[in-house]
């Protein structure tokens, strides 16, 4: 087929037929009989639980599977009429762009301009063409001001945009994205999704986007492909997907869809606007009665963490920067706190300062012992056997607490992402899980990156048990007799609504909001749950709360 025909949309952007694939030395195939076709200019959302084959399918579409990873493959993959099983990733680069989850490993140059220009240079484009293409893609992605910057000075969101620019600069007909928002705050995440939609509409780029937080991008998609155990289990419109997920895989539904299904409203909404339109159609107005949940009495116990006018300065190479600027905060035993804010707001720095990794330059910090789980749980795993990480009876006790006693002989690298997270937490808590030894504060820094909803539910249960929530304490598994305060830095508002009773919102190193979870997560736009955005009622953030209010209205 001619280049012109492909450009005009006659050929599919991606055609996969009967694809089977197994990684080298894997006991189970990663993809089983996958067939799929994406038309030029389509925006397709790839849904599925962890390890369902989403990332492998994306890698097969860009040629990394099998050319880079090896393994056994059978079937057909064509990208804009190029045979992806014959052509390598280099040849496919002109037709397909790929953006992985971690932007850190996707930049290879020192400056932004060089990074974006590299694919064109490799392709042999003339200097004038390269200059124009770099300028245009920088304008399209709103990064021209970053062109002269060094890549190691960029924030996570900026780095993700630069990696996207490098993937788009060759004007590919298909762009593949593997959880690109998992490390971004809600603001940057929403910006990225709508930027993709704009590129899709204006440039005609077909998009295949793998995501766990479906509520963030379902409304932008034309179509959803759901994967289960390596195969395609659903392929259709977003509304149909929600019906399918509601019946077959509840973990894949969105909060707004859960809200509607609890109330018995149909059709299930694919986004906030859809939900509001349906609600207007049923004649539901804005209920006035708001039931607020219990908020701990601040005088009920002595704080285990008290920061007064806390200033922390960090060295950023040639400059010192005030990352925390006069933080005042008190945390009491048993509290479950979500620490939220944009990338660079100071969340991690606050947790690291509490754990003693940074020193304050001014102010006062009184804190008991702190167990901190940093952003990358793999940093805690240095041995090749779980039992070697946690020896003895105390180690086994820690493993029991996180439900990993069965994995004592396993290699930590063979554990799933959620299990590695729990093992790292067990390492941080080992030897201080009983009585007075229990840390005053258990701090988790961005623990849900790349986790599906089922794994997040497990983490919520663990957080609640650490905080001494009786309903969640498994008496067989733990001997904890004292409740720790649990502080979790997170960008995931739905996760925060599931575990937190209080939310502290940071902005540019200062506390800009601190209050009950329902109040904070229903009082804004970006830092608000999908249900809060649908109903716009103070204090209503979860599907269950929303359903209770709506049922009252309907009656």
């Amino acid at each position: 087929m001619s280049e012109l025909a492909i450009r005009r949309g006659a050929a599919p952007a991606l055609a996969v037929r009967g694809l089977d694939y197994s990684y080298p030395r894997a006991t189970q195939p990663a993809l089983i009989d996958v067939s799929l076709e994406i038309a030029p200019g389509e925006f397709v959302l790839l849904a599925g639980r962890s390890a369902s084959g989403k990332s492998t399918l994306l890698k097969a579409a860009c040629g990394l599977v099998p050319h880079f990873h090896g393994g056994e493959i059978d079937g057909e993959v064509r990208v804009a009429e190029l045979d992806a099983l014959e052509a390598g990733p280099g040849e496919l680069a002109a037709a397909v762009g790929y953006l992985a989850q971690d932007p850190e490993t996707q930049v290879v140059s020192t400056t932004v301009a060089a990074e974006i220009e590299l694919p064109l240079e490799m392709r042999g484009d003339a200097p004038a063409d390269r200059a124009r293409a770099v300028e245009e893609v920088a304008l399209a992605l709103a990064v021209p001001h970053l062109l002269d910057r060094a890549v190691d000075t960029l924030s996570g969101g900026e780095l993700q945009r630069v990696a996207l620019a490098a993937a788009l600069v060759t004007r590919p007909r298909l762009i593949l994205l593997d959880e690109p928002t998992s490390q971004l705050d809600p603001v940057a995440g929403d910006e990225l999704i709508w930027l993709l939609r704009r590129l899709n509409e204006e440039w005609g780029v077909a998009v295949l986007l793998a995501e766990h937080r479906l509520e963030r991008c379902l409304a932008a998609a034309d179509r959803v492909v759901a994967m289960v155990d390596g195969g395609v289990a659903f392929d259709g419109r977003p509304a149909g997907f929600l019906e399918w997920a509601h019946e077959r895989h509840a973990a894949l539904t969105t909060p707004a869809a859960r809200l509607f299904s609890l109330v018995g409203l149909t059709p299930l909404p694919v986004g906030v606007r859809d939900a509001r339109q349906t609600l207007r159609g049923t004649g539901i107005g804005h209920p006035l009665h708001i039931a607020s949940r219990r908020v701990p009495d601040p005088r009920s116990s002595d704080p285990v963490l008290r920061a007064q006018n806390l200033w922390v300065e960090l060295d950023r190479g040639e400059e010192l920067r005030d990352v925390l600027r006069g933080i005042d905060l008190e945390v009491r035993p048993g509290e479950r706190i979500a620490l939220m804010g944009r990338n660079g707001a100071g969340k991690s720095t606050l947790l690291r300062t509490a754990a003693g990794l940074h020193e304050a330059v001014a102010g006062k910090l009184d804190v008991g012992s702190v167990a901190l789980l940093t952003q990358n749980p793999s940093d805690y795993l240095v041995r090749e056997r779980v039992g070697d990480e946690l020896p003895g009876e105390e180690g086994m006790s820690a493993l029991r607490m996180v439900g990993l006693e069965h994995a004592v002989d396993a290699d930590p690298r063979d554990l799933s992402g959620g299990e590695r997270q729990r093992l790292a937490l067990a390492i941080a808590l080992a030897g201080r899980m009983e009585g007075e030894l229990l840390p005053a504060v258990v701090a988790l820094d961005e623990p849900t990156r790349g986790m599906d909803r089922a794994r997040k539910d497990e983490l919520v249960a663990l957080i609640r048990s650490l905080a001494g929530d009786v309903a969640f304490v498994d008496k067989e598994a733990t001997k904890a007799t004292r409740a720790a305060a649990v502080v979790v830095a997170t960008h995931d508002v739905e996760f925060a609504s599931a575990f937190a009773e209080r939310v502290v919102l940071l902005g540019e190193g200062v506390v800009i909001a601190d209050g009950p979870m329902e109040e904070i997560l229903s009082g804004g736009w970006y830092f608000a749950t999908e249900v809060a955005r649908v109903l716009d009622l103070p204090g209503i953030v979860t599907p269950e709360q929303g359903a209770a209010v709506l049922k009252g209205e309907l009656e």
């Binding site: 280099g90 200097p127 490098a166 690291r352 820690a398």
Partner: protein
């Protein structure tokens, strides 16, 4: 924390210059240092490298390099004083030492050591300025047509070294955060883990390079001509430096002898070479555009002449109002 020697894009003349011009200029300073043993000329080379770095905005790199270079210079002077017993001016007799034998500390050995140390310090500062001011991507792009695989290796290393440093910091933090009953992390497991992590990172970066088309066999495009308006200046200064250094050597400007007694030349040719080398440090000096200060309201600034003519007009008007005729 970012290394002070890491490249930082700035709008300086040295940063804007083509890699060839910047390397020629800083390389000429290093060549001068290697050609001469006269401490005065070596000091001048060190001063030139320092001045160039400061004018290029790489103050942090220069500070760190000076700390490192001067510490090394002191160490070299000390070691030379202990291992070399040549020289007539003995200032301390330290007796017989194991391995060293008889140790006599002489002024000549100290001065010779200082000279070697100054050479090392000047070289370190020049390399620090290079590292901080010259974009490695541009250097690699120049090298790629001649040595593709070496350039790929250099690309991976230049990307992975800072990433590995960051990983090491994170692993140390995680080791410090382990609970008391978790197995302690010694240096060996930590190093093993860091190596394994670096290999994983390298695989990811290699995959990205694949996706960017690094393995394509298509003829690579010629690099964009990256000349700047400063190139000629840097090439000229480099040429002047080299010619001065060679001419100086020929006419005996490198008059320095440490043993048996110290003889340091401070003749006119040595002074001239030292002066030229020092002044070469001004090459990155950048003139900003000349600006005319104007009042905030955008009106033209009044000169004294404007003000006196306004005053004359006011006097004329008041004279007319009072009916007096101007004589």
């Amino acid at each position: 924390m970012k290394s002070p020697f890491a490249y930082k894009p700035r709008r300086g003349s040295l940063q804007n210059a083509s890699p060839g011009a910047a390397v020629s200029y800083l390389g000429a300073i290093v060549v001068v240092a290697f050609l001469y043993l006269n401490p005065l000329v070596l000091l001048a080379a060190g001063a030139a490298a320092t001045l160039a770095g400061v004018l290029a905005g790489a103050r942090a790199a220069v500070r760190a390099a000076l700390r490192m270079g001067l510490s090394l210079a002191l160490l070299v002077a000390l070691v030379n004083a202990l291992v070399t017993s040549r020289g007539e001016t003995v200032i301390a007799r330290l007796g017989d030492w194991p391995l060293f034998g008889r140790v006599d500390v002489t002024v000549e050995a100290i001065v010779a050591g200082v000279s070697y140390g100054l050479l090392a310090a000047a070289t370190i500062v020049a390399f620090a300025v290079y590292s901080s001011c010259v974009d490695p991507d541009r250097v690699l792009r120049v090298l790629r047509p001649f040595a593709g695989r070496s350039a790929l290796t250099a690309t991976l290393v230049s990307r992975l070294v800072p990433v590995a440093a960051a990983d090491a910091g994170r692993l140390r933090d995680a080791a410090a955060l382990r609970g008391p009953a978790a197995a302690p992390v010694g240096k060996a497991p930590l190093a093993r883990r860091l190596l394994a992590g670096s290999l994983d990172r390298a695989v990811d970066v290699a995959a990205t390079l694949e996706l960017r088309g690094y393995s394509l066999e298509a003829p690579r495009a010629r690099s964009r001509r990256s000349h700047s308006r400063y190139d000629r200046r840097f090439y000229s200064v480099a040429a002047i430096l080299l010619l001065t250094a060679i001419a100086g050597k020929l006419v005996g400007a490198d008059d320095f002898q440490a043993y048996p007694t110290i003889s340091i030349g401070f003749g006119p040719t040595t002074l001239a070479v030292a002066a030229i080398v020092s002044l070469s440090g001004l090459a990155p000096l950048r003139h900003g555009p000349k600006r005319r200060i104007q009042p905030a309201d955008g009106t033209k600034r009044r000169t004294r002449r404007d003000r006196s003519s306004r005053r004359r007009r006011r006097l004329d008007q008041s004279a007319r109002r009072s009916g007096a005729a101007r004589v």
